[in-house]
């Protein structure tokens, strides 16, 4: 049991433990897959959802009861863009600590990126991650790389990686520079029905930039990367997807232009989905005035106009998913001058509270949309069965306290990383229970 002084408890996860029955009473059940948003009871049995009803059916004996009055009961949240750093940089994060962080953040599943060392570009490496994740209190779905060693030249063996458990491919961290290679990758992916997740960045335009190129970068004297560096490759990848008929998912969308291009592409029937991150919805490049390296990431924080476009994109469904792009770094790589600081911020333990505070509280997103974008659609895009409370599915459940007011304090994080832009932020909303396969793996006690 990993208990923290602020009332967080992480329970050890034993997949072999007997699965007890559970009753979750009177919570607001939000399950957009089944168009449900009402106060219901949820019955769990043998690690799966047994039933949803106003009252427990007669004869249902619950071994354990959770009183969810005033709380939301949702399908387990999934973060489809995280960096677990293992293998290679276990000093920044391990699969164990990363999944603990996910759990504390209310997530029952994550998909992890292959830019590790070595790169996850073949069967044995995918298998390594899948195996390490077995004992973890969160489901881990590896993403394989598009090209061998992320070099952008030769395709990785998609088939054997999928066989070993990969649910998608991506060269996240960079784009596949050569358009002919990307075209081949998209075509090849069609055999396996997996999406190709695109990190869109024109390196020639973005090279040397440490933040968004704009009035702010001019003011701060920092070399910037322009929004078009992202938009040019979004455009390219969308056209390639249209041409090849393959399925793509655009990672960490940050600019108004990208949203516009994707909206237009969807209208034309291109098989494209996309995600944005909480930090683009809560912050802008104006927040970099103090050269805070915990706000430095790639793509960088953009302008207010871009943020408004992202919010509109979420509202009208152009943006399908909210993912964190959780990227832990050691303090030696962040506590330096701005130009020298590594790109990336953590997010597993702050995603939910930040979205609740900046979007739900401000009525920019409805609760059912939150569940859609942070649970249902990530599952669908990766071809997984989670994201819903339909009877018979795994009882992966997140119970959210929408009213809890608290202050984010990175000292209590389960992640090894401390590079969050939200330290000290007063927020409202957090996961109170995280339930994996019918077993409580995380509980948040206390009121602070």
């Amino acid at each position: 049991m990993l208990e923290k002084k602020n009332g967080q408890i992480l329970y050890p996860f034993d997949p072999a433990a007997p699965k007890r029955s559970m009753l979750i009473k009177n919570g607001r059940v939000i399950d957009p897959a089944n168009s449900i948003d009402e106060t219901l009871c949820v019955g769990v049995d043998q690690g799966r959802i047994a039933w949803l009803a106003k009252e427990p059916p007669p004869g249902f004996a619950a071994h354990m009861e959770i009183d969810a009055e005033g709380l939301w009961v949702t399908p387990g949240l999934m973060d489809m863009h995280v960096h677990l750093r293992e293998p290679g940089r276990e000093d920044k994060e391990t699969i164990e600590t990363g999944t603990q962080a996910a759990c504390a953040g209310g997530f029952t599943a994550v998909a992890c990126m292959p830019n590790t060392n070595p790169v996850l570009d073949e069967e044995s490496k995918i298998r390594y991650v899948a195996q390490r994740a077995q004992d973890c209190s969160c489901r881990v779905f590896p993403i394989g790389s598009i090209t061998k060693a992320l070099a952008g030249e030769e395709l990785s063996p998609f088939g054997e990686m999928v066989r070993a458990g990969a649910r998608a491919v991506s060269d996240d961290g960079k784009s596949v520079r050569k358009s002919n290679i990307m075209k081949n990758a998209l075509n090849y992916s069609k055999s396996f029905g997996i999406p190709v997740i695109c990190h869109c960045e024109d390196n020639d335009l973005s090279h040397g930039g440490h933040m968004n190129e704009g009035a702010m970068s001019s003011l701060l004297g920092v070399w910037g990367q322009p929004s078009i560096a992202e938009e040019i490759i979004v455009s390219r990848d969308v056209l390639l997807a249209q041409y090849t008929g393959a399925r793509i998912h655009i990672a960490h969308v940050s600019t108004a232009g990208s949203v516009r291009i994707i909206r237009e592409a969807k209208k034309q029937g291109v098989a494209v989905t996309c995600e944005t991150c909480p930090h683009y919805l809560a912050l802008t490049d104006a927040d970099l005035a103090s050269y805070n390296t915990n706000m430095k990431m790639n793509p960088p924080l953009r302008t207010k106009k871009d943020q408004e476009a992202l919010l509109a994109g979420l509202a009208d469904g152009t943006i399908d998913v909210i993912a964190s792009d959780h990227a832990p770094h050691v303090s030696e790589e962040k506590d330096v001058e701005f130009d020298a600081a590594a790109f990336g911020v953590i997010g597993l333990e702050t995603s939910l509270p930040v979205i609740m505070t900046y979007l739900i509280e401000k009525k920019l997103l409805r609760p059912s949309q939150l569940v859609e974008k942070m649970s249902l659609l990530p599952n669908r895009i990766l071809g997984l069965g989670g994201g819903t409370l339909s009877a018979g599915r795994f009882a992966d459940i997140t119970i959210i306290d929408p009213k809890a007011r608290w202050t984010i304090d990175s000292r209590y994080f389960y992640s090894k990383g401390r590079n969050t832009p939200f330290d000290g932020l007063e927020v409202q909303g957090r996961a109170k229970y995280t339930i994996l396969g019918g077993i409580i793996v995380y509980e948040r006690r206390g009121t602070s």
């Binding site: 190129e213 704009g214 009035a215 702010m216 970068s217 001019s218 003011l219 701060l220 004297g221 920092v222 070399w223 322009p226 103090s290 050269y291 030696e332 506590d335 330096v336 001058e337 701005f338 130009d339 020298a340």
Partner: protein, 309 residues
Amino acid sequence: MSLSINHLLGLKGVSEKDITLILDTADNFYEVLQREIKQVPTLKGITIVNLFYENSTRTRISFELAEKRLSASPLNFSTSTSSVSKGESLRDTMRNIEAMKIDMVVVRHGAAGVPAFLTRCTNATIINAGDGLHEHPTQALLDMMTIRQKLGKLKGLKVAIIGDILHSRVARSNAWGMSAMGMKVVLCGPPTLLPQHPECLGVEVTDNMDKALDGANVIMMLRLQMERQNAGLFPSIREYRERYGLDLEKLSKLPRDIIVMHPGPINRGIELASNVADGEHSVILDQVTNGVAVRMAVLYLLGGGGDNA
């Protein structure tokens, strides 16, 4: 009489009152520099570290001279000769220096925001001698001192700054400092060497040199770095010189009392013709002399005092 700021990180946001105090004090130090014994004991016993991560002989020498003329004890820390090249982090370097009980740090670094970063690492007073593309406040102060010396005032004058504005921290510091003093600033250069979003600097920006020079009392030429040509930012030196260089012919069409400035080092024959650099309108050497006086004033006003004792 004292400054309302505790460090000199830049001129953005510095008040007219503070800038005036620095310039007035610099005038007094100018007088010291005319004496036979060009030294005063004011900062005796105060240790100042010149932390130069970027190569810069002239700025460092100017600061060192200012420090010595104030009887302070300067220490030079430059990249090639220190542990920095062995990969020591900035924070550790700062901590080690501070453990040797120093009072002030004059820092030049290639990354913007480093002086601000240092104020979070140490209690010493920090003076920015140039951080990345961000600011070079003492240069702008000596520029203003020179203008005031030659033209008798600052308010209402028009200054045309011409050259590679995009990469110039001198242009930025001058834009902010001069605006605070009620001067009109125009920044001019080829479109590829102008910031993409110039509105943040709060001054007029143009790619037309004639427009910039129209009504100007002061022309400040900036150095063109040859590497910019390799980066595809302008096609040839010949075209640059023709469109943005200053020669006698262009100068002759302007009012007699105009002054020509340059932060140095000059690319003779490129942005500035030799006969202009050495001509009657040029105050470039005065800028260098005033540089020492201004830096003495800054060190004097920021150093000492109960706060730092």
